[in-house]
């Protein structure tokens, strides 16, 4: 399978503290990859490095054959930050249309469609500042997906969403991957991990697992992903000691 994102020996320091210690992984094109790990494990930092907004100490990140952050990539990549980043004093539709207008050949109608896709059709004319927390993060998600980018990096897109909506969002992610996009989605929720093609588990800036959900379960000998990860982490710690 073709590789969309390749990370090699990535070292990132934030302040004086090392956050990623020589992390390497490959993400295949047209897939949904789940990025899992506790808070502070380096998920967001890895995503920022892939998007090209993170200063890296050493190592390389290649996205679609170009170094991360390359000018050429800016029209092919979409990024959802963990905190919603939309304009509170614009309506949902105005936000989506503005972000759509930054890309060549993305019509307004596509912005309106995406707003409906994330379940905000009824709130399209509402100011973003008046939305609930869950609606706000979906408005932000709409702006990240609006250009239907080749690579979509989503930092906790489904936090605080109701289960029905979460299910629908995951179907949308799957549709995008089926259409050829590459998605990297971070999450805390293990039942979401089961919906990914591949899983990356990171802990304290190191990769613990990089495999399909089935392979992770098989290796750990657990059918439950939570348990499986726990087993892998313990095995790893023993190996290090």
């Amino acid at each position: 399978m073709e590789t969309a994102i390749e990370v090699k020996d990535l070292v990132v320091h934030r302040g004086k503290k090392p956050v990623l210690h020589g992390l390497s992984c490959q993400i295949p094109r047209g897939s949904v990859t789940g990025l899992l790990g506790p808070s502070g494990s380096g998920k967001t930092t890895l995503m920022r490095a892939i998007v090209g907004v993170q200063i890296v100490k050493s190592g390389t990140v290649t996205v679609l054959g170009k170094p991360a952050g390359d000018k050429e990539l800016r029209r092919r990549i979409g990024y959802l930050t963990q905190a919603p980043s939309v304009y509170a004093d614009l309506t949902v539709r105005e936000n989506a249309r503005y972000f759509a207008s930054l890309y060549d050949g993305v019509p307004k109608s596509q912005a309106d469609e995406i707003v409906a896709d994330v379940g905000l059709a009824d709130q399209a004319n509402q100011l973003v500042g008046t939305l609930s927390g869950g609606q706000l993060s979906r408005a932000s998600l709409a702006c990240a997906m609006v250009s239907k980018p080749d690579v979509l990096v989503l930092d906790e897109p489904t936090v605080g969403q109701d289960p029905v909506l979460r299910d629908e969002l995951w179907k949308r992610f799957r549709d995008l991957a089926n259409a050829g996009s590459t998605l990297l989605v971070s999450s805390h929720v293990m039942d979401e991990a089961n919906r990914c093609d591949r899983l990356l588990l990171i802990r304290e800036g190191r990769l613990i697992a990089d495999a399909t959900p089935a392979a992770v379960k098989a290796e750990a000998g657990h059918d439950d992903l939570d348990e499986a990860f726990l087993t892998l982490i313990r095995a790893r710690e023993k190996a290090v000691v």
């Binding site: 993170q54 029209r75 930050t81 939309v86 105005e94 503005y98 207008s101 100011l127």
Partner: protein, 250 residues
Amino acid sequence: MKPRILGNTIQRILRQLRHDRRTVGLLLVVPVLLLTLLYYMFPDPKLPLVPPVFDRVGLVMLGIFPFVIMFLITSIAMLRERTTGTLERLLTTPLGKLDLLFGYGIAFGFAAAIQAAIASAVAYWLFDLDTAGAKGLVILIAIANAVLGVALGLFCSAFARTEFQAVQFMPVVVVPQILLCGLFVAREEMAGWLQAISNVLPMTYAVEALQEVGKNADPTGLMWRDLGIVAGCVVVALVLAAATLRRRTA
């Protein structure tokens, strides 16, 4: 810079402003209220040979208000872009740094043009402001000054992490310029070192340009030079602001 993205960014900023009716109201009304205070502070001497103080002070204020107000709203608007993460998101899109900076300059410059037109209209027709030169030049200088405020606001917002800090830049950046621009004490009467400071502050030139319009029927060379200096400062401030926008951060 891409004209389409620049145009859409200008529209977006104006749309944000339009949704905020109270800010629009304040932008348009506050200068007029302040001019009114000023007008009644200096009663008309009604002596044929003594020009009313308002002709001198009111004229200069038409240049100072847009500078102060645009500096404040721009530094807060840009700080919001930074703190809410929209800036980081924008910098991952095809938008260029100059699209964003010129977007703010042009959008707020447009708002300032309306503000300056209303304030000047009130000053001329309600308060009988008298200038030897053209009213249009007064408005032009006021707009240039507003854009200067925008450019400095864009630059200074990089040094503030919170809104509390951002508003503190107002006294730091704006007040010395008002004190030393020649409004309170004529520049020639200032101590040498104060004059030296005054010489490097852009507001000095904007005020001098306005005074030239007040005194002379036709635009003078000095006025055009001063306007050129203000425009030059705008460009320098925008370039410095562009240098503070980093696509990659730690």
